[in-house]
Structure formats: C-alpha cells, structure tokens
C-alpha cells in the first residue's frame, strides 16, 4: 500500500476496508445517488437475487435523464418517462430510499441536487451510475461514476473494489481574466493533457485560479475530469467550500458542523505532497475556449482557427482530426469566430447552476438572439430555477428569445425529446462533443454559458469579451 499526503490519499485511506492480495482495495462508500434511467437494471438485479440494501438513508434518488423539459403534462410524460418515474418511485419506497419526485421543487440533475442539498460533503466517497459523478469532487470528495452492475454491487455491499490511482496535480497559475470561468479552465486542461491524459489518474486541480474560483466553477471543472479520462477529479475543500455548504438541508449543524469542519481542514494536500504527475498552466492570458471537433481535446481559443491535420503530432492524430473535420463540416484554417450556429443549449450538469445562468444573462440583457437561432436554457434544478426567477433572469432569457425550460438533462445527450437534426450546429454548455451525442449527425461546440449566450446573439461562435 502506497499511502501519501495528498487529499486523494487521505480520503482513500479513511475508507479502505481491506486489501486483496493483488492490491485491489475494498472501499467503503458513504453516499449513493440514483436516477430513473439505468437504475431499472440495478433494482431488478437486487430483487432477482432477493438481496437487500443496507443503510438506505445513505441513498438519494432523483429523476433527471429521460424527462421532457418543455412540458410535464401527463401526455408529455406518457410512455417511457412515466414508466421510469413510476419504477423509481416504487423502488425507492420498497427499499426505504429518500426520493425527490418530479413535481418537487428540489428535482433536478442529480449532480446539481446532491451538492445543493448538502448530501455531498468533503471527505466522503460518493457514487452514482453516471459518469459525471466526478462533479462532487469539487467538495474534496472521492466521487466515482460507475456502471449499473458496479452500482448494484455497491448498493448491496456498501463497498467498491478498486485499485489506488496514481495522482496528478494540475496547477492553474495566475489570475483568470474577465469571462474566463471553470469551463474555460477545464477545456484548456483537457486540450493540454488530452482526452486520455488522465486515464488511471486521480486529478487534483489546484493553484491561484482555483483558490479564486466559485463552487459552481469548481463543479464544472471536476464534472469534466472524466472527459480527460480521469477516474476522479477533485479540489481540496477551503473556506469557499464551507461557506457554500453551511446551512444546506443535509449538511451537519451546530456542534456537528464544528466537528466536521475541524476534520475537513485536515484534508488539503500537504505542502510536501508528492504527485505522480504535475502539470502547470498559466491562465492569466487564457482566451475563452471552444471545441472545433468531436473530442473535448479538440479545443482552441475563440480567437484561434480550426487546425490542419498536416500539423498533427502523428499519423493517428492526423487521422482523428481528418475524421473530426469531416464530421463537423469544417475546413482547416477556418476562424472559429466565423462558424455559424443555429442552435444554442444552456444546461446540463456541467453548466446549469445559478452562476452559469447569471453569466449568460449578463450577456443577453438588453439583447436579442440572432434570426434563425433556436436557443433554450434548462436550469439544473427546481431550486436553481426558482432562484433565477427571483432574480428576474428568466425574463432576460425569454425577452432575448430563449425558451425557459424545466430542469433535467435535456439536450445534453440525444434523449428522446430534444436533439439536434442532421447537420445542425450547436453552441452547447454541456460536456461531450462526441459524434451523434446530441443527435444523429449533430455538430456540437462546447463552450461556457457566457460564450453560448454570445453565440446566440451573433448566430456565430463569438468572443464573449466583445460583449463586456
């Protein structure tokens, strides 16, 4: 057993139940998040084997994936959504799991709801049968996205079998310029280390720009650690974390809060902590980031151009770039700011929190979206929606020409309700620009919420810094 003085190692060591002869560890899992799609098979498996779920109060269920965000009438929900919702409700009831139902104002995307409720806490281990569970690492937690079978194993045994990862620290030096947020920082990092640069690693984000970053921005970053291939993305807890958590419904209170706080303060990596890999990025002159291709590593500044496969590092990369350009319908050398878009999506577990909506609204205030652009925004949860409406953000969006939707995963993935049509090009605040991700032959450009708003206004990918 390696052991160490990093945040990752400290939380890991606190949760090891046993080590198997080949070095695989059995980790105790503190928190489990469940959503409607994909949990069907989990509960079916548990029932079929006649097993039970110990400590069900450590589980929180909320529907988010396969839901219409434009309409929640019985007609709109008929079919698959209704069946999945019913099944989630029944499974939660039968196994004694707390369930936030569709028409509860707390409903939303699991990775928005968990932190919002204080279910996500520093120092804990958290799992969900969804890859973007990495989001919760923003609180200094070990958050693992797992498949359905793995999730079933964790629900029944309370443990996850895994080998200790190598550790990587990505340091972000300098003060981030105006309009540069978590989305730009993480896209720049993925551009630097590559979409499999983090494979096998637990990545800690650190440095001056992270210390200055809000919890929303930190969640955006850890959310996309998975897009670098990492098993875990995390940020050590600090005063920003504690301030954000204090008073949340499920966060500890009173003396318990003080006791927890004393422990949480021991979690940051020691000054002498050794990482297996260190990467440093200077962000002081970073331009807003935008993807041009079909992998999150296909990223440039908005003032940049579509690259030429002739300039690729090797034959395999040239091949991948050619394929991506073909799919995206882009020619090498095209200025990113010349690329026209007809769809804009603001939402997803990456960028649907209140700060995201505020920054998009700041760009949209007093402006209208371009002719021919279809834009909508789906707040990450009912509580985010309520807060945004209290601040009048919904009116800014609708007056600009956006649709103001209900909370859910919406057009982040090619769900049954919202997807791109063949050839449609979208500025999207979500996390994956894979081929066909948002719909068959749809073309996705990943950007921050402010950049998405600027694209909606101009009808092209646009530099939000021009909207200062």
């Amino acid at each position: 057993m390696k052991g160490g003085n990093t945040t990752y190692d400290k939380i890991w060591d606190d949760h090891v139940v046993e080590e198997l002869p080949d070095g695989t560890a059995r980790l105790l899992i503190d928190r489990k998040l469940v959503y409607e799609a994909g949990s069907v098979q989990v509960f079916r498996g548990i029932r079929a084997a006649g097993r039970s779920i110990p400590n069900p109060e450590r589980v929180l269920a909320v529907p988010d994936h396969v839901l219409p965000t434009h309409d929640r009438s019985p007609e709109a929900l008929a079919g698959m959504p209704a069946l999945l919702l019913e099944e989630l409700e029944r499974n939660s009831r039968d196994f004694g799991i707390e369930h936030i139902p569709l028409f509860d104002e707390r409903q939303g995307i699991a990775h928005v709801v968990g932190p919002e409720q204080g279910f996500t806490l520093p120092g804990t281990t958290i799992v969900c049968h969804d890859s973007h569970t990495a989001t919760h690492g923003a609180f200094g937690a070990l958050a693992f996205g797992v498949g359905a079978s793995e999730f079933e194993h964790i629900m029944v045994t309370q443990t996850l079998l895994q080998r200790r990862s190598d550790t990587m620290r990505i340091g972000f030096d300098g003060v981030a310029p105006a309009w540069i947020g978590g989305k730009d920082l993480i896209l720049a990092a993925i551009g630097t280390i590559g979409a499999r640069g983090g494979t096998g690693y637990a990545i800690e984000f650190a440095g001056e720009a992270i210390a200055a970053l809000s919890m929303e921005g930190r969640m955006t970053m850890c959310n996309m650690a998975i897009e670098a291939g990492a098993r875990v993305g995390l940020i050590a807890p600090d005063e920003t974390t504690y301030r954000w958590l204090n008073g949340r419904p499920k966060a500890p209170k009173g003396a318990m809060w003080e006791q927890a706080l004393a422990y949480w303060r021991t979690l940051p990596s020691g000054r002498d902590a050794r990482f297996d890999r260190e990467v440093l990025l200077d962000v002081s002159a970073l331009a807003p980031q935008v993807t041009w291709g079909t992998s999150p590593e296909h990223v440039v500044g908005i003032d940049g151009r579509v690259p030429d496969p002739k300039d690729a590092g090797d034959a395999a990369q040239a091949d991948a770039w050619t394929r991506a350009l073909d799919y995206m319908g882009l020619a090498p050398g095209t200025a990113m700011a010349d690329v026209a878009v007809s769809r804009v999506f603001i939402g997803s577990c990456t960028n649907s929190r209140i700060e995201d909506l505020r920054s998009a609204a700041a760009v949209l205030k007093g402006r209208k979206i371009a002719d021919g652009v279809h834009a909508f925004v789906s707040p990450g949860s009912g509580l985010v929606k309520k807060q945004a409406e209290a601040e009048g953000l919904d009116r800014i969006f609708t007056e600009a020409g956006f649709e103001w939707r209900l909370p859910g995963c919406s057009m982040c993935f090619g769900g049954p309700f919202d997807s791109l049509k063949p050839g449609e090009r979208c500025a999207s605040t979500s996390n994956r620009n894979f081929e066909n991700r948002q719909g068959r032959d749809g073309r996705t450009h990943l950007v921050s919420p402010a950049m998405a708003a600027a694209a909606a206004v101009t009808g092209r990918l646009a530099d939000v810094r021009d909207y200062l």
């Binding site: 606190d14 139940v17 046993e18 198997l20 080949d22 070095g23 695989t24 059995r26 105790l28 994909g38 069907v40 098979q41 084997a49 097993r51 109060e57 806490l121 120092g123 049968h129 969804d130 890859s131 996205g145 797992v146 498949g147 359905a148 079978s149 793995e150 079933e152 194993h153 029944v156 045994t157 443990t159 079998l161 080998r163 979409a195 499999r196 494979t199 096998g200 098993r231 500890p252 318990m256 006791q259 927890a260 079909t294 992998s295 395999a316 091949d319 394929r323 993935f413 090619g414 769900g415 049954p416 997807s419 791109l420 894979f434 081929e435 066909n436 991700r437 948002q438 719909g439 068959r440």
Partner: protein, 213 residues
Amino acid sequence: MTPFTTLRAVAAPLPIANISTDDIFPGPGATGLPAGMSFSDPAKMGPNAFAVMRWNADGSPRPDFILNRSPWDTAQIIVARDNFGCGSSREHAVWCMAAIGMRCVIAPSFGDIFYGNCFKNGMLPVRLPVEQVERLLSLTAAPETATLNVDLTAQTVIDAGGGVHRFEVDAYRRDLLLNGLDEIEASLRAGPLIEAHDAAYCARRPWLRADTA
C-alpha cells in the same frame, strides 16, 4: 456469469481512436426509437450496437461497415485504437456488444468505466501496446488472417501470423472471469469486516450518520 477462459474467433478491426459509448450505444436522439431496438432489456440490445455506424437512417445496413461484412459479421472480438469506450458509464455499451456475441475487445487503452463494466458481463478487455494493436488491426482486416486466439489463463493473444502478445490483467478480476463468479456473492462474504469498518468509521465521522444527515 458466463466464464471466460479461451476464445478462438474472428476479430473485427475498427481502426478509430476514441470510440465512445455514444458510438457503441447511441441515445434515442441519434437512432430514434425504432422497433427492434431496446433501451431497457440487455438481451434485446443487439440492434442498438454501433447503430449509427451500422445502420442507415432508414434502418438498412451500411455495407461498408465492418460488422456488416463477411466474415466479420460473425466476429466475437473487436480490435480498436486508443481510448475505446470513453464517455458515459452506460453499461448498455457492454450489454449491446454482448448481445451481438462479442466477448473480447483489444485496444491500447480504454475508458475507465467501460473497462470495469466489461468484467461484470463476461467480456474481456485486453490492453496491448500500440504497435501490437496496429499489427492486429492490419492482420484482422484480411479475411484469411482475421481469426485470433485469446487465452485468459495464459494471458496471451495469438494472431494468425504466429505473433504472441502477452497482456496484463488484475488477478482478482481475472479469477472472477475465469470462474464466472458472482462478484456480489464474493463480496458479501466480507460482510462482517465491512460492518466493523463502517461502525468504526461512523464513530470517527459522526456527522455522516443518518440521524444528523
């Protein structure tokens, strides 16, 4: 779970990097919800596998796609480039591959969650160095050299040119696969150990207990 010991089968080359779980199991927005596809029953997910690459929008097969051509339409092995199975945790990606008879994937690297999901379903993911994968990609592209021998006991892949490629795999996962063991059953035997650890842990971190949560 079906045990995996040795496999002699046709391998289909997919010389593409970053094949994502969205490629392997596209969402309904990419495929529609055509009859014949299933989004909930693993045994019926065969038609969903690689659907966009494999089928035209009207549901007819794309003749250029390798799995629609003989002898690769009987393939039980896939050979691909870097980062196979990157993306989401959807185990559907493994289920739909299993539903068309796949038992093994060979690539230089894998999406981490996909890699773990394979073992839960009797599917063996094999990591080999880039040069060896490139060799397998070119050999399996020809019908007469498309067959590979995979031996989990010896931890080798043998190609039709006589090349022997040794691979590494965690001993614990290997044992589960070789014996077709139920991992949950095995873990439940550690029950007393888990409970003891949990009790000590909850005493150490009392704010995490239910009554304060």
